[in-house]
Symmetry: C2
Subunit: 914 residues, 2 copies
Amino acid sequence: MRKKALTINGVQRTVIAEQGASLGDVLRRQLHLTGTKVSCNTGHCGACSVIVDGKLTLACLTPMSKVSDGAAITTIEGIGQPGALHPLQLAMVSHGAAQCGFCTPGFVVSAKALLEKNPSPSREEVRDWFTKQHNACRCTGYKPIVDAVMDAAAVLRGEIPAEFLEYKPTADGRIWGSKYPRPSAIAKATGTLDYGQDLGLKLPPDTLQLALVQAKVSHANILAIDTSEAEQMPGVAAVLTHKDVKGRNRITGLITFPTNKGDGWDRPILCDTKVFQYGDAIAIVCADTIEQAKAAAAKVKVELEPLPAYMSAPAAMADDAIEIHPGTPNVYYGQKIAKGAETGPVMSQAAYTVEDSFYLQRQPHLTIEADMGFAYFDEEDRLTIHSKSIGLYLHHAMIAPGLGIAPEKLRMVLNPAGGTFGYKFCPTLEALVGVAAMATGRPVYLDYDYEQFITYTGKRSPFWVNLKLGADADGKLVAMESDWTVDHGPYSEFGDLLTLRGAQYIGAGYNIPNIRGQGRTVATNHAWGAPFRAYGSPQSFLASESLMDDLAEKMGLDPLELRYRNVYRPGDTTPNGQAPEVYPLPEMLERLRPLYAEAKERAARESTEQVKRGVGISVGIYGAGLDGVDGAEAWAELTKLGVTVATTWQDHGQGADIGALGTAHEALRALELDPTEISLILNDTAIAPNGGPSGGSRSQAVIGQAIKNACDNLLDALRKDDGAFRTYAEMVAEGRPLRYTGKWAATMNSNCDENGQGNPFATYMYGVFMAEVAVNTKTGKTTVEGMTVFADVGSINNRLAVDGQIYGGVAQGIGLALSEDFEDLTKHTTLRDCGIPYARDIPDRFAIHYIETSREHGPFGATGVGELPLTSPHVAIVNAIKAATGVRITHLPARPEKVLAGLRAIAGNPVAAD
Amino acid sequence: MRKKALTINGVQRTVIAEQGASLGDVLRRQLHLTGTKVSCNTGHCGACSVIVDGKLTLACLTPMSKVSDGAAITTIEGIGQPGALHPLQLAMVSHGAAQCGFCTPGFVVSAKALLEKNPSPSREEVRDWFTKQHNACRCTGYKPIVDAVMDAAAVLRGEIPAEFLEYKPTADGRIWGSKYPRPSAIAKATGTLDYGQDLGLKLPPDTLQLALVQAKVSHANILAIDTSEAEQMPGVAAVLTHKDVKGRNRITGLITFPTNKGDGWDRPILCDTKVFQYGDAIAIVCADTIEQAKAAAAKVKVELEPLPAYMSAPAAMADDAIEIHPGTPNVYYGQKIAKGAETGPVMSQAAYTVEDSFYLQRQPHLTIEADMGFAYFDEEDRLTIHSKSIGLYLHHAMIAPGLGIAPEKLRMVLNPAGGTFGYKFCPTLEALVGVAAMATGRPVYLDYDYEQFITYTGKRSPFWVNLKLGADADGKLVAMESDWTVDHGPYSEFGDLLTLRGAQYIGAGYNIPNIRGQGRTVATNHAWGAPFRAYGSPQSFLASESLMDDLAEKMGLDPLELRYRNVYRPGDTTPNGQAPEVYPLPEMLERLRPLYAEAKERAARESTEQVKRGVGISVGIYGAGLDGVDGAEAWAELTKLGVTVATTWQDHGQGADIGALGTAHEALRALELDPTEISLILNDTAIAPNGGPSGGSRSQAVIGQAIKNACDNLLDALRKDDGAFRTYAEMVAEGRPLRYTGKWAATMNSNCDENGQGNPFATYMYGVFMAEVAVNTKTGKTTVEGMTVFADVGSINNRLAVDGQIYGGVAQGIGLALSEDFEDLTKHTTLRDCGIPYARDIPDRFAIHYIETSREHGPFGATGVGELPLTSPHVAIVNAIKAATGVRITHLPARPEKVLAGLRAIAGNPVAAD
């Protein structure tokens, strides 16, 4: 232990800490300066950036022994506060640079240190700095952050007044369509928003800390679990195993597809008979401190009988493979697609056919914040579970029977979340903390370190796709034959739904009259498949959008032209036979055409023997909503202070707050409310009605309609005969109810049938991506030098939020194309090793063009946005690599060694690549 | 458990807390908003003031169930921060309104709430508000706080700019004699200074929380201690008894008086054979959480054999009283005084004699902050003990043998302390936390709740004094006969020294040629005697300054005139036969004379039958230093940033920081340093050399000399031949040492001999007090309506600090006179029940007049100040009561019922009073 006198944010403090403790831990756990976020603990994310004696420092990697006595430390709390923002913070707010916001304090601190050294950095210098300092952002694609730093620097240089950065209300007070900052922006930029880990430090003093005993193998039978030694360890309140789970001890996948051969009850809360994947939880130690819990967890003895681990779909499909879930075949679901005529004859007569096989990898979500949750019994004795759940009611239903708790005694709450990108569409630790709280009767807290988080949460499921396209002499597509295999890991939840996505998105965007295909869901022992932004579509488009380029090449047609000839026009239908609700793609391609020509010219001009440049494009489509009759509920209530709106529009950084606010404000415009007079309750099943999960870009489209309806109903109730509105006082005086429910359901839709035909979504999002890449032919490294996106997401609610979704989604597409993977359980355990893109990996030349086609079935003409930008940008990139080098990458990611192998193959010097 | 959405300091937060938990606990323990201080936990101190939905609220008394969901809470952290002070905070700084600073956040928050309701309060309205809101301050006498609120209100009203409140540097940059704010002022006014409890929340996560098993009787034999059940309780790491103490298990009183009949080894760390007083510690439970520790402490079984409890000196002196410490008589020390001739003959020839008996009560220190401490092993494996110790080296010596630790392996550190007023001249829990850290090897933390604090820390020892004065026909004192008995509680530490104070201060101020007297120290079972400001002198002056008034009355002389005739003039000596070093008292009385006449006239004019007014005066003297050859050591070191000065000038709120800074800055003036370039290390035996304890007003006088000497030595080393000074770089380049030691010792002094004769102190402080009181003859309640103080404390280092000492010391004198007591163990357990004065109890009409007689043996002519204001103000008050009503109160406090009884006695209707 060592006592040091430190000046922290200008205040002299005595700090007593272990020399080996990290500065990050000391700041957070001891001093509760929770604006400094610690997540990756490997120095890969920069969320813990602080300034020590003028030097930017990663607090997670800095042991206290390296912090000199007398050091001056600046944390985010010392840079500015709500009400007294530093220009960097103000600029972050005004540029929407804080999405989930978890990395924002680190970026602010990092930028502060940069501007102290270099008050006039160029944009590239800002990007280089953030890259060098390992400031990672998973939400924004970095552009809004760089914009913010440039503006803040101008303010600090005195070139523009700070007020220029503040939001300027419109003349009519309307915020729909504006850049009104999201309500949480200031808290995020100042480090004052309490995320789950922060709340974890602020729980009641009797909270038990949990540590898991986890499997270190991927497949095994459990012979015995001995907790006796662990129970005797200091501070241990309980050691829990499956025997302590009061319910069915299974998370139910809520299987709704009748042809699924599993029953959805395959995922144990705590393993009983078998281990199904690496990291599976076998026991929970509950102790006074986390150190005690971990020490005791190490004393739990688990006797295992190893079983063969099937780490990919082909392995699990082998003839000799045993059933991972005995009684259920490893291939447990099949999804056909059959549209139009049989394709065999059509194909044989097609002027052109192309075919190839594709693999899209197990993309990790790589949120900057890891996973955590806690539970306690509330004042009505409800088991209350706080987590990063983006499907509060969904998870409620998925875990209640396993826990053995009456539904009305279970309450789910979403903490402010540092990103999920879909992984939290699945429950992770909700049931674990539930078990612990039920067994001990005390508040319990559990968090995962980053390695635990990566290895024990769901991932994007790899697809193995074989695809064949046929076109006539004019390049009009005439048929498609598809076969796709989904490696869904050991747990079936949503696996059938994901497999259906292959039928919905392979070939989407184009009118293909005749389609035949077959997909299947396979259980393996690798990470379970969890939703990830654009769910199922990146896998689908990798095949169809790559093949479109190959088809164009074969025809000697420009890829843009081929696409232009085939994209949806009135009379066309989707692969599911649905008529699109709008037809913006031709216009997008028209408008892209000159930019594309320019880009190709630039690529040609700037290419060298060593660095070859190319341009690629892709089309992306995604339905906004859950399949079929998706619906939501909300209420709006008049209060003394304005209006409160409640529903479960779960915010995981995408901007549920501004989405709900913008929608409600627009719906309530007649009341002329200031936006601050609208309160939102979006995260608590005890208060908010069921808006459904936040996923599938459904929230703005579906929940937004419910909010609009609730607001309409409220307005109706307030409206007097003369058209004026009753005040709160008048409503109370007249004894009228103050709260009004709103509902919406997509009754115009229908689920896809066994042939994949139906009208699954009320609205779709449409996009076209153009990537400009440079490939170093010596190293094989690909750099994305420019991205151009055309997007039609309907009428735009909030421009900052929508821009941010697109920047961030495309950035994930760049990672998907070039670097991201989760395959090797021992190697892919950190942000960097999993290939997260840093600022220098995302181009500064990044343009978004909107076509705001109003949607009939979206509130005020809006639809969703979140999935669109990750549908196919990666295919634009691999198409650009092909254009630059002639190398067709079919198995992602397009790592340098693969590109090099392709280059060698072309040069007649083949080396096996994939 | 209940989840609430609270807006705390403008930031929306989710707070999950037990409904029964106090808001104060939630703010501090859960949210670590430690600017809100919680100490008394009874709503008596206001340190926990926060604003909830616009309403000033005591956080300690407010259960979370009373905090509504959605409430807006403002704590000190939300009012202003270092670098962005609210005008209230700035005004507190500039007025020196934060001394120990522990109450300051509460006052700032309270004043904020007041000014929101009433932007233009009168001074009386401010006082009434603070009184009504229970904002208690023990340091400042409230005046600087009221000054600050009035100024801040003017700033907020826009009448004066905030800059007017800022410190204006003098033309020559000198801060000596200025109102330069103390270095800790901003931290105190913003709630950012971490006191012991705050540090306790910020210790490493593996820190064990301690709970004591304490005696609930005052005297008993211990038959058995059974810890077995406690050891099995959850979270318990160890249950420690005397058997676990590695050393002698005694705190040594370091007895230096050879005639003491005890050996000083009478105070157990953990009781083994006997319980000596209520609260004595018998066992320590070490657990993960304080709740666990307390639950387990309740399970420790202690078998006791009750013994008679001697709760006062007379009881312990009774013939049949058993020895409290077997082998040592209860009367264990005697102190004679013999000056001049035998007094018997002189008395018998004196023209006038007066005599009476007096009792001064067991005054409780009533710091707003209770007691706490913690211990751990540092990087050099030193047992490091943090506490409120104001005698770091002294306590080091007192506890090391009892702990059984090598002195070089023990390190003592003072935390920022919320006042001690001397109680921490004694070790309290230092040895307890030391035992626990040694036994467990882990960091340990212990704090006392306010009741524990009051009942288990030392108190001012009551004196029973019989005194007789003789004067000649001119009113010149000719003889004094004294007899005093000191109830010192069960522990002897410093008891002999305190008894000597009777010989030094009874009759001090006057030249009394012939004195005979005898004092004695008595062990009892009431609270042990600990130093308290003005140590021994309030007891002494109660007798002599009361009798001076009685003598004047008997002679028909004005009390001021009688004093004027007798105060020290050249050629006179103190009761100890020492020649005073300066003679300011005649001038003080001369200057007081017209003010006194005015006051008497006012009293006469404003007196009514119901409210009688009167004026009283008293003289007070106190030596600055420890008896005899007091000394200190310090060092000054040139650093890159300026100069660092180190010594143990322990800051318990009196202003060690500004004392040391002002002294060093003055000593180093040739270097033209900005005050911020001087760093201070005043609180750590591992770094700072022994400056001696902070008590007896010795610090400025003695430690100040050592600092001056160290600075002189540094200057000598820096001085070049041409008179210029070497820079840091030059010193390093020339390889010269950077650190220089300074020492000082009062070699001109000598200890008092067995007759109480000697030259104990190098310098004295001199004062005259005038009190104006109003006595309600119906209720007996006395109100002090004005205080006038003349003080000679030499050259003044810092005016804010010295003013503050005097205001605060006199306020404690008002409490001593009228309300404060610690007698009833069941009743005197809270601030209010112990009689702490609130703002309305201290007059706003409060004037201080300085006579700055330069002292030869003080640095730059300064001497001490802290003890002076509590030497005799209480006697001015009881003299004023006498003047107003004719009632002479001889036994303090002068509670209404005593005054009423006196009034009845005068009216011929006596009712027993004392």
